[in-house]
Every structure is written in C-alpha cells, then in structure tokens.
Symmetry: C2
Subunit: 332 residues, 2 copies
C-alpha cells in the first residue's frame, strides 16, 4: 500500500512523520518547490513542525499533483478545505480511478458547502466506498512531540479502514475504527465552531464554571446534528463520547494549541474578524464552517441555537456580548 500525502501544512507534516516513523516510503505533494528543496537539504519542513526530522530516503516529494497521485494507492488529503477545489481542478475526471482517498481535512468546501467525499463524487469517477476519513483529537504539535494520541479511521468499508489504520499505529499513536463516515466529518467541522465560541467566552472573561456548561451543552447540540447527518438508517448505537466526537470537541475547546479557540478569543476581546485573521495570518476553519453549517442545519431541519449565535457574531455583526447573553439563557 503506497501512500501519497497531499499538502504540507502542520497536519500533513505530522501524518508524514507518523508514516515514515513506521518506515513507510511515501509520496508527498508539496506545492512550493522551495519547501521541497529545504526538506531535501535540511530534512525538516521549515514552515510547520520544524522539530520533526525526516529520513529523506523515505520521501518522494513533488510539486506535480498528477505525478504524486499516479504513484500512490491511497491519497491522504490534507490541504485546507478552502483550497481543495483549486488543488483538484487541474485533474482529469479519471484521475482517481482505482485510488482510495483518506480525508485529513477538518472542514467543508466553503462556497460549495460540500464535504470532500461529496465534492469528489461530483467531480471524479469516485465512489464513497473508496473514501475514508482520519480524525481525532490530534494536535499536530503533540504528534511531533510524540505524546500519545488517538486517531480514528472511518469508512463504510470497515476492513479497508482497518487495513489503512494499521499503517499508522506506532508507539505514540493508537488507532480506533468507525464507520459513521458523515458523522465523524461533521463532528470535526462543528467542533471548530464551538471552539471559536469557547474562545469568545474566554475573551469575554467568563470563568471555568461557565465554560464547562457551554461546552457540555455544545456537545449535546453537536450530537443532535450528527444523528441527523448519518448516512445509514441503521439502529446501531454510535458512541458519541468516543475520541472522534466528544474527545475532539474537548481538545479543540480547551487546548491552547487550538487555533479556532485563539481566533475566538480575539473576537471576544473586541477584534474584528478581519483583524483577527490578519493577526493570526490564517483563516480559522471554524469561521467558514459556521456559515456552511448554518445552511446545512436548515437542510437537515435540526436546530443549532448555539452555533447559530456564533454564526451571527462572525458573519452578521451580532455584538459578542449580546450573542453570549442569548447563549446564557439557552444553557442547562
């Protein structure tokens, strides 16, 4: 099984580290040839997780996406969701024939309001049975530091998911299997919205007591959405307290590594969305997610009062204090 990693951000770099730590040769698509040159010369990514060093004999890096796809059986997609279309639009519709795709993105294609599998199904000859997602509370910084983490591999075809997962298990990484492929992806998206809210609450100087009530109620709201977003109508009970659901929500809301929380904190302190984005030189995934989920929740007919207020703050000029006064009244 030959893996190709698409992207070179912090999460892509962490996944490259895990596979090469397991002595896998990997193909690696990196857009910027300067980055490739740096890794070739210095054995680490200069921009992300630069303390993680690679055995270069295991790396086949290229800025040509068709070449990397050609060389790989399993493509791990780890570019920000906002750049998915730009990245993939150069490919022919048969480019993914015979390939498996593992989504490592934690967002939704913003203008299209599509999950990666939905986009691939519309754009390529691609079947969801070849689609997998890797998720979990897994801040890349802790993977780089080899702190024990858990990754969940989700797919409709559980045997294939198990096979893929087996290549990631290392001394610092445990793997979990799941086949709620829509649910885990939406959990990864929703948690960023709630984490922004946690950051806003922190910026507004609410305390630990409030934050815990806010996050607990957010968990409940998230699960209400996930029950509606399931692909199957099976009665099988999903454990929403597992790491890919509640675990990921908790780390994103509480960890100081969380960029969405940091972004929210600036909003809570009174920065505008624009200034917060410039200051952090990034778009927090939760920002676009709040708009996409706002629409999607209407399609699914599920009420998300907390997420709607975060959306109002970020997109519709709802004053933060007013928004949180409303949230206060919702919590139980």
């Amino acid at each position: 099984m030959k893996f190709g990693i698409i992207g070179s951000g912090s999460w892509a770099t962490a996944l490259a580290k895990i596979l090469t730590d397991n002595n896998h040769s990997i193909n690696w698509w990196i857009r910027n040839t300067d980055t490739i040159d740096h890794i070739t010369l210095r054995k680490h990514n200069p921009h992300y997780l630069n303390a993680a060093y690679f055995d270069n004999t295991l790396l086949n890096m290229s800025s040509s996406l068709p070449y990397i796809i050609e060389e790989s059986d399993v493509l791990i997609v780890a570019v920000p969701s906002a750049y998915i279309h730009d990245t993939f639009s150069i490919l022919n519709t048969d480019a993914l024939d015979g390939k498996k795709v593992v989504s490592a993105i934690k967002g939704i294609l913003p203008d299209r309001n599509l999950l990666l599998n939905e986009y691939l199904e519309q754009t390529f000859n691609f079947n969801i049975r070849d689609y997998f997602a890797v998720l979990g509370p897994c801040h890349a910084e802790e993977v780089a530091a080899e702190k024990l983490s858990y990754l969940t591999f989700s797919g409709i075809d559980e045997d294939k998911a198990k096979d893929i997962a087996s290549h990631f298990k290392t001394g610092y990484l445990n793997t979990v299997l799941n086949h709620d492929i829509m649910g885990v992806q939406y959990a990864a998206i929703l948690k960023n919205i709630y984490a922004m809210g946690a950051g806003i609450a922190h910026g507004l100087e609410y305390g630990d007591n409030f934050l815990s009530v806010y996050i607990a109620n957010s968990a409940d709201e998230m699960v209400r959405f996930l029950r509606k977003a399931r692909l199957d109508d099976e009665k099988e009970v999903i454990n929403y307290a597992a790491s890919a659901y509640l675990g990921d929500l908790l780390v994103t809301c509480y960890s100081l590594y969380s960029r969405n929380r940091t972004f929210g904190n600036m909003i809570g302190k009174g920065y505008s969305v624009k200034v917060a984005q410039l200051e952090l030189s990034m778009v927090a995934e939760g920002y676009n997610a709040s708009k996409c989920v706002h629409k999607k929740s209407r399609d699914l007919q599920v009420a998300l009062p907390i997420a709607d207020i975060i959306y109002g703050i970020l997109w519709e000029h709802l004053p933060v204090a007013e928004g949180f006064n409303k949230i206060e009244k919702l919590l139980v």
Copy 2:
C-alpha cells in the same frame, strides 16, 4: 422559607454569599466559635473565600446544630461527607421532622457507603420527598468572584425544587431543575474520581490529546453507571450532557481550581497518597469516593474499568504508569 446552612467550608461560604446577596436572612451552623467571632467582627470567613464580605444583619450564626435546625425550614448540608455522621449523630431521631434537606455535599459517607439521603432515611424520620441536591460546575472561588455559574436543583418533588431554586437565582447565578436525584449525586461523586485520573495523567506528562480522549471516555463510563443508579424506571430521557453531569465532569477535570485534579497530579508525579494529603492539608473527596464506587459498581453490576484502575492506584498500590498503560488500551 428560612434557610439554615450547615458547615463553613468554601462551598458553604459561597452558598451563604448567594443567599445573602439575595437579601435572605440565614441561619448558619459553624462548628468553630472563633470563626463565628471573626465573621461577627470582620464580616468575612477567615478560612475560606475571604474576599466575600457579608451583611452581618442577615446572619444568625451558632455552633449549636439543634438550635440552627430548630430555626430553619430548609437545611443546606455542606460539610465534607466524611464528617456527616460525627455532625449528625448528636441529634434525636425526630430532629428533621418537618424539615427539608438540601445536600450540597459532593461525596458519599465513606465507611457506610451511603448517599446523604440514604443515611438520613436510616437515621431519622425522613422521607426522600423532602430531599434535594444542589449541584453543578460551580467552583466556589468563581462564585465569590461573581463569575456567571449554573446550579442544578434536583428533587423528586419538582415544584418544591423549583421553589428552593428560586431563592438562589442572582445576576451571577442561573438555576436548572432536575429530578434524577440519585443520578446527579452519583455524577458529583464519580467526576471526582475521573478528575483524580486527569490529574494523574497530567502528572505523568500525557498531553492534551490524550487527556481529551481520557475525559471523553470517562464521560461515557460515568453515564453507564448513572443509567443503572436511577431511582425510577421511567423511560424519560435524561440529558447527560447537561451542566450537572458532563459540565461538572469537565470543570473538575480541567479547572486548575479542582482539588481532586491537583491531588491526582501529585500522585502522577510520584507522591504517595499520604504525602499528597499532608501537602494539600485535605482529603480529596475523590479518594474515598473511588473506594465507595468500587463497591457500589459491583452491587449495580456495572463495569467501570477506568474508575477501577484509579481505585487500584489509590488504594491497592497499583503503580501509576502500569495503571495508565491499562487505561491507554481501553480508550476509543
């Protein structure tokens, strides 16, 4: 409705502050007459929350428990569970006739392995319909600082619970109603055990990713126990993500105010139980709770593998690293 507060620790002091902030006159049993003298003279409790000042005209303090009970309609019990029997054993069996009792303790009577209502029913003419519990993620320090917090009032008689709750609602305190009286009490007990585990994990230098997975799995384990501990067989769905359940677990596991977490952290760093207790000059409620719950889970026939390992570490000399190696394998 005349309230009597029994105890003068940090939580008792916070509850006295809330009621007097609402301009209620209260009766207050304080064992130590020096403390009464200090509050009389200086208007604050010298030992706990000493930044909270009282309007002394609203306080009727006494070291005589029979007198305070006599003067009150509703008794709020806020002494550590380990001292309940010593405190109440001086009373006649009719001492609680016509009284309502609100438990503000977050533990179990250690040698007897009883919740407060069970102890009162055995010891006095007391009916569980006169029993209520006040719970929630409510670190006393944040109440003192008037940070918005949520208190849950639970009782079988929801009208009475509502009436009692109405006296606590202030600008910095929202109230929530509940009638799963056994569940909320056990949640308050179990969360201390898991928080000790969170502290141990922190002491062992696990990272944020692991901690979130550990806490999420603990939430699941806690709910399994609570479903079995329900008094009623009603099919009514309980919202286990509410503040009294998941909220309280989160604040206890994550907040630096949490004494159980601090205690666990010392155990994780290699201190013995004895030394950690001496150093913190207190018994963390979770320490006794782990033993009581270990027994109780057998009575209820519910498996608590995480809590059992914490129990093993605290009571049966299971080495911390070995215990957490086992926990690592349980998590999903």
